[in-house]
Symmetry: C2
Subunit: 183 residues, 2 copies
Protein backbone atom coordinates (compact mmCIF):
# COMPACT_ATOMS: atom_id res chain seq x y z
CA UNK A 1 0.00 0.00 0.00
CA UNK A 2 1.28 3.43 -0.90
CA UNK A 3 0.27 6.92 -2.01
CA UNK A 4 -0.98 5.49 -5.33
CA UNK A 5 -3.25 2.88 -3.70
CA UNK A 6 -6.82 4.08 -3.38
CA UNK A 7 -9.16 2.88 -0.64
CA UNK A 8 -12.64 2.48 -2.12
CA UNK A 9 -15.40 2.61 0.51
CA UNK A 10 -18.53 1.24 -1.16
CA UNK A 11 -22.08 1.95 0.06
CA UNK A 12 -21.31 2.35 3.77
CA UNK A 13 -24.88 3.54 4.28
CA UNK A 14 -27.04 3.34 7.37
CA UNK A 15 -29.86 1.50 5.57
CA UNK A 16 -27.51 -1.48 5.25
CA UNK A 17 -26.85 -1.71 9.00
CA UNK A 18 -27.93 -4.93 10.72
CA UNK A 19 -30.39 -2.98 12.84
CA UNK A 20 -31.95 -1.46 9.72
CA UNK A 21 -32.84 -4.94 8.46
CA UNK A 22 -34.58 -6.72 11.35
CA UNK A 23 -35.01 -10.43 10.85
CA UNK A 24 -32.24 -10.64 8.28
CA UNK A 25 -29.05 -12.56 8.87
CA UNK A 26 -25.82 -10.65 8.17
CA UNK A 27 -22.22 -11.81 8.14
CA UNK A 28 -19.14 -10.10 9.60
CA UNK A 29 -20.34 -8.12 12.65
CA UNK A 30 -17.00 -6.21 12.78
CA UNK A 31 -17.19 -5.04 9.17
CA UNK A 32 -17.97 -1.36 9.90
CA UNK A 33 -15.35 -1.17 12.65
CA UNK A 34 -12.80 -2.58 10.21
CA UNK A 35 -13.91 -0.21 7.48
CA UNK A 36 -13.34 2.66 9.91
CA UNK A 37 -9.86 1.32 10.78
CA UNK A 38 -8.94 1.22 7.10
CA UNK A 39 -10.27 4.76 6.55
CA UNK A 40 -8.26 6.08 9.53
CA UNK A 41 -5.13 4.36 8.23
CA UNK A 42 -5.52 5.88 4.76
CA UNK A 43 -6.27 9.35 6.10
CA UNK A 44 -3.36 9.23 8.57
CA UNK A 45 -1.04 8.38 5.67
CA UNK A 46 -2.57 10.92 3.31
CA UNK A 47 -3.33 8.19 0.75
CA UNK A 48 -6.23 8.50 -1.73
CA UNK A 49 -9.61 7.57 -0.31
CA UNK A 50 -12.76 7.51 -2.43
CA UNK A 51 -16.25 7.19 -1.00
CA UNK A 52 -19.06 5.64 -3.04
CA UNK A 53 -22.73 6.17 -2.20
CA UNK A 54 -25.73 4.43 -3.71
CA UNK A 55 -28.57 6.68 -4.86
CA UNK A 56 -31.33 4.16 -5.32
CA UNK A 57 -33.94 4.96 -7.94
CA UNK A 58 -36.37 2.43 -6.44
CA UNK A 59 -39.47 3.93 -4.84
CA UNK A 60 -39.32 1.92 -1.62
CA UNK A 61 -35.57 1.60 -1.12
CA UNK A 62 -33.95 2.72 2.12
CA UNK A 63 -31.05 3.89 -0.04
CA UNK A 64 -33.09 6.43 -1.98
CA UNK A 65 -31.80 10.02 -1.50
CA UNK A 66 -33.83 11.68 1.25
CA UNK A 67 -34.39 8.48 3.21
CA UNK A 68 -32.60 8.12 6.58
CA UNK A 69 -30.95 4.91 5.34
CA UNK A 70 -29.30 6.79 2.50
CA UNK A 71 -26.92 8.51 4.95
CA UNK A 72 -23.31 7.39 5.00
CA UNK A 73 -21.65 5.98 8.11
CA UNK A 74 -19.56 8.77 9.70
CA UNK A 75 -16.22 7.19 8.69
CA UNK A 76 -17.42 6.97 5.09
CA UNK A 77 -18.39 10.64 4.80
CA UNK A 78 -15.97 12.38 2.45
CA UNK A 79 -13.50 14.61 4.30
CA UNK A 80 -11.74 17.63 2.81
CA UNK A 81 -11.44 17.19 -0.94
CA UNK A 82 -11.84 13.41 -1.00
CA UNK A 83 -13.67 12.43 -4.17
CA UNK A 84 -17.24 11.24 -3.68
CA UNK A 85 -18.88 9.02 -6.29
CA UNK A 86 -22.64 8.53 -6.48
CA UNK A 87 -24.13 5.70 -8.47
CA UNK A 88 -27.55 4.26 -9.29
CA UNK A 89 -26.53 0.69 -10.19
CA UNK A 90 -24.32 -1.87 -8.47
CA UNK A 91 -21.13 -1.12 -10.35
CA UNK A 92 -19.38 2.06 -9.23
CA UNK A 93 -17.89 2.26 -12.74
CA UNK A 94 -21.14 2.59 -14.69
CA UNK A 95 -22.54 6.08 -15.16
CA UNK A 96 -19.77 7.61 -13.01
CA UNK A 97 -16.36 9.16 -13.58
CA UNK A 98 -14.58 6.72 -11.27
CA UNK A 99 -12.46 5.13 -14.00
CA UNK A 100 -11.51 8.55 -15.39
CA UNK A 101 -10.59 9.82 -11.94
CA UNK A 102 -8.36 6.82 -11.22
CA UNK A 103 -6.63 7.06 -14.60
CA UNK A 104 -6.09 10.81 -14.27
CA UNK A 105 -4.44 10.25 -10.89
CA UNK A 106 -2.29 7.35 -12.05
CA UNK A 107 -4.01 4.93 -9.67
CA UNK A 108 -3.92 1.25 -10.69
CA UNK A 109 -4.23 -0.35 -7.26
CA UNK A 110 -7.47 -0.48 -5.26
CA UNK A 111 -8.27 -1.69 -1.75
CA UNK A 112 -11.99 -2.33 -1.28
CA UNK A 113 -14.27 -2.33 1.78
CA UNK A 114 -18.04 -2.04 1.68
CA UNK A 115 -21.54 -3.39 1.52
CA UNK A 116 -22.73 -5.77 0.42
CA UNK A 117 -20.12 -8.37 -0.45
CA UNK A 118 -22.25 -10.12 -3.04
CA UNK A 119 -24.04 -7.17 -4.64
CA UNK A 120 -22.27 -3.82 -5.07
CA UNK A 121 -18.86 -4.92 -3.77
CA UNK A 122 -18.62 -8.00 -6.00
CA UNK A 123 -19.97 -6.17 -9.05
CA UNK A 124 -17.54 -3.28 -8.62
CA UNK A 125 -14.55 -5.54 -7.89
CA UNK A 126 -15.26 -7.64 -10.98
CA UNK A 127 -15.52 -4.62 -13.25
CA UNK A 128 -12.43 -3.01 -11.70
CA UNK A 129 -10.35 -6.09 -12.44
CA UNK A 130 -11.78 -6.45 -15.94
CA UNK A 131 -10.87 -2.79 -16.60
CA UNK A 132 -7.26 -3.53 -15.62
CA UNK A 133 -7.04 -2.44 -11.98
CA UNK A 134 -5.33 -4.55 -9.31
CA UNK A 135 -7.85 -5.19 -6.57
CA UNK A 136 -7.31 -6.15 -2.93
CA UNK A 137 -10.56 -7.01 -1.15
CA UNK A 138 -10.65 -6.83 2.65
CA UNK A 139 -12.76 -9.80 3.69
CA UNK A 140 -13.61 -8.71 7.25
CA UNK A 141 -14.40 -5.16 6.15
CA UNK A 142 -17.32 -6.29 3.96
CA UNK A 143 -20.59 -8.04 4.79
CA UNK A 144 -23.41 -9.92 3.07
CA UNK A 145 -26.99 -10.74 3.96
CA UNK A 146 -28.44 -14.25 3.85
CA UNK A 147 -30.50 -15.34 0.87
CA UNK A 148 -33.21 -17.86 0.00
CA UNK A 149 -33.01 -19.82 -3.26
CA UNK A 150 -35.99 -20.54 -5.56
CA UNK A 151 -36.11 -24.12 -4.19
CA UNK A 152 -36.45 -22.78 -0.63
CA UNK A 153 -32.88 -23.43 0.47
CA UNK A 154 -31.78 -20.81 3.01
CA UNK A 155 -28.15 -19.70 2.91
CA UNK A 156 -26.78 -17.70 5.86
CA UNK A 157 -25.10 -14.33 5.48
CA UNK A 158 -21.84 -16.00 6.41
CA UNK A 159 -22.15 -18.66 3.69
CA UNK A 160 -23.09 -16.08 1.07
CA UNK A 161 -20.20 -13.85 2.17
CA UNK A 162 -17.62 -16.64 2.12
CA UNK A 163 -18.78 -18.23 -1.14
CA UNK A 164 -18.66 -14.85 -2.85
CA UNK A 165 -15.13 -14.23 -1.53
CA UNK A 166 -14.12 -17.66 -2.80
CA UNK A 167 -15.47 -16.81 -6.26
CA UNK A 168 -13.66 -13.46 -6.36
CA UNK A 169 -10.35 -14.80 -5.02
CA UNK A 170 -7.50 -14.95 -7.54
CA UNK A 171 -9.78 -14.43 -10.54
CA UNK A 172 -10.66 -10.85 -9.56
CA UNK A 173 -8.94 -9.89 -6.31
CA UNK A 174 -6.45 -10.75 -3.63
CA UNK A 175 -8.38 -11.43 -0.40
CA UNK A 176 -6.84 -10.11 2.83
CA UNK A 177 -7.93 -9.18 6.35
CA UNK A 178 -7.90 -5.73 7.94
CA UNK A 179 -5.08 -6.78 10.27
CA UNK A 180 -2.94 -7.75 7.30
CA UNK A 181 -3.24 -4.19 6.01
CA UNK A 182 -3.24 -1.90 9.03
CA UNK A 183 -1.13 -4.18 11.23
CA UNK B 1 -39.56 -15.69 -24.61
CA UNK B 2 -40.03 -14.37 -28.11
CA UNK B 3 -38.20 -13.24 -31.26
CA UNK B 4 -36.70 -10.32 -29.30
CA UNK B 5 -35.27 -12.50 -26.51
CA UNK B 6 -31.63 -13.40 -27.11
CA UNK B 7 -30.06 -16.59 -25.81
CA UNK B 8 -26.51 -15.83 -24.68
CA UNK B 9 -24.27 -18.91 -24.60
CA UNK B 10 -21.21 -17.95 -22.55
CA UNK B 11 -17.86 -19.76 -22.77
CA UNK B 12 -19.18 -23.21 -23.64
CA UNK B 13 -15.58 -24.31 -24.26
CA UNK B 14 -14.06 -27.75 -24.00
CA UNK B 15 -11.37 -26.65 -21.53
CA UNK B 16 -14.14 -26.09 -18.98
CA UNK B 17 -15.47 -29.69 -19.24
CA UNK B 18 -15.33 -31.76 -16.09
CA UNK B 19 -12.94 -34.19 -17.78
CA UNK B 20 -10.61 -31.32 -18.70
CA UNK B 21 -10.18 -30.49 -15.00
CA UNK B 22 -9.33 -33.75 -13.26
CA UNK B 23 -9.50 -33.59 -9.50
CA UNK B 24 -11.78 -30.55 -9.50
CA UNK B 25 -15.34 -30.67 -8.23
CA UNK B 26 -17.97 -29.26 -10.58
CA UNK B 27 -21.68 -28.63 -10.06
CA UNK B 28 -24.58 -29.36 -12.41
CA UNK B 29 -23.58 -32.44 -14.44
CA UNK B 30 -26.47 -31.83 -16.89
CA UNK B 31 -25.46 -28.23 -17.66
CA UNK B 32 -24.14 -28.86 -21.19
CA UNK B 33 -27.12 -31.05 -22.10
CA UNK B 34 -29.43 -28.27 -20.90
CA UNK B 35 -27.43 -25.63 -22.76
CA UNK B 36 -27.87 -27.73 -25.93
CA UNK B 37 -31.64 -28.02 -25.29
CA UNK B 38 -31.91 -24.25 -24.99
CA UNK B 39 -29.87 -23.74 -28.17
CA UNK B 40 -32.08 -26.18 -30.12
CA UNK B 41 -35.21 -24.43 -28.83
CA UNK B 42 -33.95 -21.01 -29.90
CA UNK B 43 -32.81 -22.23 -33.32
CA UNK B 44 -36.08 -24.11 -33.94
CA UNK B 45 -37.97 -20.89 -33.21
CA UNK B 46 -35.63 -18.69 -35.21
CA UNK B 47 -34.95 -16.52 -32.15
CA UNK B 48 -31.67 -14.60 -31.72
CA UNK B 49 -28.81 -16.69 -30.36
CA UNK B 50 -25.42 -15.20 -29.54
CA UNK B 51 -22.33 -17.27 -28.78
CA UNK B 52 -19.57 -15.90 -26.59
CA UNK B 53 -16.05 -17.38 -26.56
CA UNK B 54 -13.22 -16.57 -24.19
CA UNK B 55 -9.85 -15.84 -25.81
CA UNK B 56 -7.56 -16.07 -22.82
CA UNK B 57 -4.44 -13.95 -22.88
CA UNK B 58 -2.81 -16.05 -20.15
CA UNK B 59 0.18 -18.10 -21.26
CA UNK B 60 -0.89 -21.35 -19.62
CA UNK B 61 -4.66 -21.16 -20.00
CA UNK B 62 -6.59 -23.96 -21.69
CA UNK B 63 -8.81 -21.22 -23.11
CA UNK B 64 -6.03 -19.52 -25.06
CA UNK B 65 -6.68 -19.52 -28.85
CA UNK B 66 -4.88 -22.46 -30.41
CA UNK B 67 -5.27 -24.72 -27.38
CA UNK B 68 -7.66 -27.71 -27.67
CA UNK B 69 -9.63 -26.40 -24.67
CA UNK B 70 -10.40 -23.17 -26.51
CA UNK B 71 -12.79 -25.02 -28.85
CA UNK B 72 -16.52 -24.48 -28.37
CA UNK B 73 -18.90 -27.30 -27.58
CA UNK B 74 -20.68 -28.27 -30.83
CA UNK B 75 -24.03 -26.76 -29.75
CA UNK B 76 -22.30 -23.47 -28.96
CA UNK B 77 -20.62 -23.14 -32.37
CA UNK B 78 -22.24 -20.25 -34.25
CA UNK B 79 -24.53 -21.45 -37.05
CA UNK B 80 -25.40 -19.48 -40.19
CA UNK B 81 -25.16 -15.78 -39.42
CA UNK B 82 -25.47 -16.05 -35.64
CA UNK B 83 -23.31 -13.34 -34.05
CA UNK B 84 -20.16 -14.56 -32.33
CA UNK B 85 -18.54 -12.47 -29.60
CA UNK B 86 -14.96 -13.01 -28.48
CA UNK B 87 -13.70 -11.54 -25.23
CA UNK B 88 -10.53 -11.47 -23.16
CA UNK B 89 -12.02 -10.63 -19.75
CA UNK B 90 -14.93 -12.08 -17.78
CA UNK B 91 -17.56 -9.58 -18.87
CA UNK B 92 -18.85 -10.14 -22.39
CA UNK B 93 -19.65 -6.41 -22.50
CA UNK B 94 -16.10 -5.08 -22.07
CA UNK B 95 -14.01 -4.66 -25.21
CA UNK B 96 -16.79 -6.13 -27.40
CA UNK B 97 -19.70 -4.83 -29.46
CA UNK B 98 -22.28 -6.93 -27.59
CA UNK B 99 -24.15 -3.95 -26.12
CA UNK B 100 -24.19 -2.18 -29.50
CA UNK B 101 -25.43 -5.33 -31.25
CA UNK B 102 -28.26 -5.81 -28.77
CA UNK B 103 -29.33 -2.17 -28.97
CA UNK B 104 -29.20 -2.13 -32.77
CA UNK B 105 -31.48 -5.18 -32.84
CA UNK B 106 -33.92 -3.84 -30.24
CA UNK B 107 -33.09 -6.65 -27.81
CA UNK B 108 -33.70 -5.88 -24.12
CA UNK B 109 -34.29 -9.42 -22.83
CA UNK B 110 -31.52 -11.98 -22.36
CA UNK B 111 -31.57 -15.64 -21.36
CA UNK B 112 -28.18 -16.85 -20.16
CA UNK B 113 -26.50 -20.26 -20.07
CA UNK B 114 -22.79 -20.85 -19.70
CA UNK B 115 -19.61 -21.43 -17.76
CA UNK B 116 -18.72 -20.74 -15.14
CA UNK B 117 -21.58 -19.58 -12.94
CA UNK B 118 -19.40 -17.55 -10.60
CA UNK B 119 -16.85 -16.13 -13.01
CA UNK B 120 -17.85 -15.15 -16.56
CA UNK B 121 -21.58 -15.85 -16.19
CA UNK B 122 -22.00 -13.83 -12.99
CA UNK B 123 -19.83 -10.98 -14.25
CA UNK B 124 -21.72 -10.75 -17.55
CA UNK B 125 -25.16 -11.05 -15.92
CA UNK B 126 -24.33 -8.28 -13.42
CA UNK B 127 -23.14 -5.91 -16.12
CA UNK B 128 -26.08 -6.74 -18.39
CA UNK B 129 -28.54 -5.84 -15.65
CA UNK B 130 -26.63 -2.70 -14.72
CA UNK B 131 -26.72 -1.64 -18.39
CA UNK B 132 -30.51 -1.99 -18.38
CA UNK B 133 -31.14 -5.44 -19.85
CA UNK B 134 -33.66 -7.87 -18.33
CA UNK B 135 -31.81 -11.08 -17.54
CA UNK B 136 -33.12 -14.61 -17.05
CA UNK B 137 -30.45 -17.01 -15.82
CA UNK B 138 -30.98 -20.74 -16.37
CA UNK B 139 -29.67 -22.36 -13.20
CA UNK B 140 -29.27 -25.93 -14.49
CA UNK B 141 -27.64 -24.76 -17.72
CA UNK B 142 -24.66 -23.24 -15.88
CA UNK B 143 -21.96 -24.78 -13.69
CA UNK B 144 -19.29 -23.74 -11.21
CA UNK B 145 -16.12 -25.34 -9.88
CA UNK B 146 -15.36 -25.76 -6.19
CA UNK B 147 -13.06 -23.29 -4.46
CA UNK B 148 -10.76 -23.10 -1.44
CA UNK B 149 -10.76 -20.02 0.79
CA UNK B 150 -7.62 -18.38 2.22
CA UNK B 151 -8.39 -19.99 5.60
CA UNK B 152 -8.42 -23.45 3.98
CA UNK B 153 -12.20 -23.90 3.91
CA UNK B 154 -13.22 -25.99 0.91
CA UNK B 155 -16.51 -25.14 -0.79
CA UNK B 156 -17.96 -27.63 -3.28
CA UNK B 157 -18.88 -26.71 -6.82
CA UNK B 158 -22.51 -27.15 -5.84
CA UNK B 159 -22.25 -24.71 -2.91
CA UNK B 160 -20.41 -22.14 -5.02
CA UNK B 161 -22.96 -22.53 -7.80
CA UNK B 162 -25.97 -22.18 -5.51
CA UNK B 163 -24.60 -19.31 -3.44
CA UNK B 164 -23.79 -17.38 -6.59
CA UNK B 165 -27.29 -17.98 -7.94
CA UNK B 166 -28.71 -16.76 -4.62
CA UNK B 167 -26.66 -13.57 -4.88
CA UNK B 168 -27.77 -12.91 -8.47
CA UNK B 169 -31.44 -13.71 -7.84
CA UNK B 170 -33.80 -10.71 -7.94
CA UNK B 171 -30.98 -8.16 -7.78
CA UNK B 172 -29.62 -9.04 -11.22
CA UNK B 173 -31.67 -11.84 -12.76
CA UNK B 174 -34.71 -14.07 -12.62
CA UNK B 175 -33.52 -17.62 -11.95
CA UNK B 176 -35.30 -20.44 -13.82
CA UNK B 177 -34.68 -24.03 -14.89
CA UNK B 178 -34.34 -25.33 -18.43
CA UNK B 179 -37.66 -27.17 -18.13
CA UNK B 180 -39.40 -23.93 -17.25
CA UNK B 181 -38.24 -22.48 -20.56
CA UNK B 182 -38.32 -25.30 -23.10
CA UNK B 183 -41.18 -27.22 -21.44
Amino acid sequence: MNAKTALLLIDWQQGLRTESRPGEDRSTPQAAENGARLASHWRANGWPLITVQHNSTEENSDLRPGMPGHALEPFAEPQGNEPHITKTVNSAFLGTDLQLHLMQHGIRDLVVSGLTTDHCVSTTVRMAENLGFNVTLVSDACAAYGKTLPDGTVMSGDTIHRANLASLQDEFAIIVTTDEIVG
